[in-house]
Symmetry: none
Amino acid sequence: MKKILIVDDDGELRGNLTEILRGAGYCTDEAVSGCEALEMLASKEYDIALLDMIMPNRDGMDILTEMKKIRPRTRVIMITAFATIENAVSAIKKGASDYISKPFKIKELITTIKRVIEESRFETDIKKLNIEYTLSSLSNPIRRNIINLLNARSKMRLMEITRELDIEDHTKVVFHMRMLKEAGIIEQNKEKSYFLTKEGERAIDFLKLLENYVTS
Amino acid sequence: MKKILIVDDDGELRGNLTEILRGAGYCTDEAVSGCEALEMLASKEYDIALLDMIMPNRDGMDILTEMKKIRPRTRVIMITAFATIENAVSAIKKGASDYISKPFKIKELITTIKRVIEESRFETDIKKLNIEYTLSSLSNPIRRNIINLLNARSKMRLMEITRELDIEDHTKVVFHMRMLKEAGIIEQNKEKSYFLTKEGERAIDFLKLLENYVTS
DNA sequence: GACAGAAGTGAAGAAAACTTCACCGGCTTA
DNA sequence: TAAGCCGGTGAAGTTTTCTTCACTTCTGTC
C-alpha cells in the first residue's frame, strides 16, 4: 500500500483529501506545516508528498528543497492556488515530480498520483541496477579505453582492439568485452564486430564529460 | 566566449536576437528549423540553445529531446508565445534549463542566459574529481548510501550511519569510511563526525547526473 | 588439405575488494 | 570503579575481479 503525506495548513482540505485518498486505497498521514512534514519524513518513508506551496511560516518551495535532501526518493507533488509558470518551472527544477493548481478535480489528482508512482517504480527498480553496472564498468581503465575506442571507430574486431591497446593476451580483452556486453554497453554483430549500444553511447557522454573536466 | 544557437523560424526575431546577443558578447549562430539545429549541434558544440517551441514541421518539444540526446551538455532555453504550465513542466522534465514566454524583455533574456551559464559552470566544476578514485568509490552501493546519507544530514557519527544503514558490524562501515576518506570524498572533524568535502559534494552532483543519463 | 590467424572457452592463479572477528583504549554514567 | 557504548586497529578469511595459460573451433587462403 502506497504511503502519501498530505501537507497543507487548511484543515478542511486535508480532511477531504485524507478521506478520498484512503477511499482510493492509499495510506495517508497529515501534516499541518512544512516543518511538521519534515519531521515526519525524517522518521518515516513516504512514497508521495502532496505539498501546498503557500503556507504560513515557511515557503513550500523551501520545504520542497529540504524534503528532497532528507528523502530523495519521496516524490513530491506541488499544489498551489496561485499557479504561475515561473513557479512551476522552479518547482520541477528543484525536484518536484508534478505541479497541479487549485482548484483541481479529484480525478485529476488521482491520475497524477498514479502516474508519478508509475514513473517512480520504473526509475527505482530497473535504473538502479543499470547504475550499478555502468559505474562498475566505467571504473576499470581498460574498459574505459575500449569504450572510447569503439566510440571513435564505431565498429571494431577483437584483435583490432587488442593491438590498439597494446595488450599481449587477447583473452584478457575477451574478458572485458564480456563484462561490457553484460552491462549492455556493447553488442556484437554477425561479423563479430563490436559496437556501442545506445546505453554505451550514453556512457560515453558521461565519460567524456568527466574526462574533459580532468584534462582541462 | 560562450556559443549560443538561436533556433526560430521567424527571421526577423532571429536577426534581432543575433544582434543583441553579439552586442552582449556572445558568439551566435542561427538555425531556421529544428532539423537544421540538430545538424548544427551534431557538428559543433554550443553552450546554449534558444529553442522556439512552436515551429513548422517538427515540434520544439521533440527537438528538445533530440538535442539532449546529441549534446547533453548544451543547455536549452525554451521560448514560446503560448506558455502554459503543463508545457513548462514537461519541458523542464525533458531537460530544458529554463522556459520563457514571448514577448520577453531583452534584459530578462540576458539574465536567464547568465543564470543558466552560471548553473552549468557548477556542473563543470566536477572536473577536479579524480576519475579513478571517484568511480571506484561510487561503484559500491554501500558507499553510495553513505554519501547520500551525509548529503541529507550533513554531519553524522559512525554509529549513526551504521544503524541507519542497518549494518551489524560497525568495522565494515569503518572500512568504507576509510575508502571514502582516501578518495577525498569525506572528512572527519574533531568530534569524530563525518561530513562531505567539496569533492564529495561534487561526487553527489556527479551521481545525480549519471542518474539522469541512465534514466532519460 | 595444411597452415595461419581470429575468436573464444574453461580452469587455475593472483590481486583487489570486501567482510568478519578478536581486541583496545577512551569516554560516560550509574 | 565497573559497565557499556563508541570509534578504531590489525589480522584472517571470503568473495570478486582480473590475468594467464592451455586448448578448441572457425575461417580464409595458398
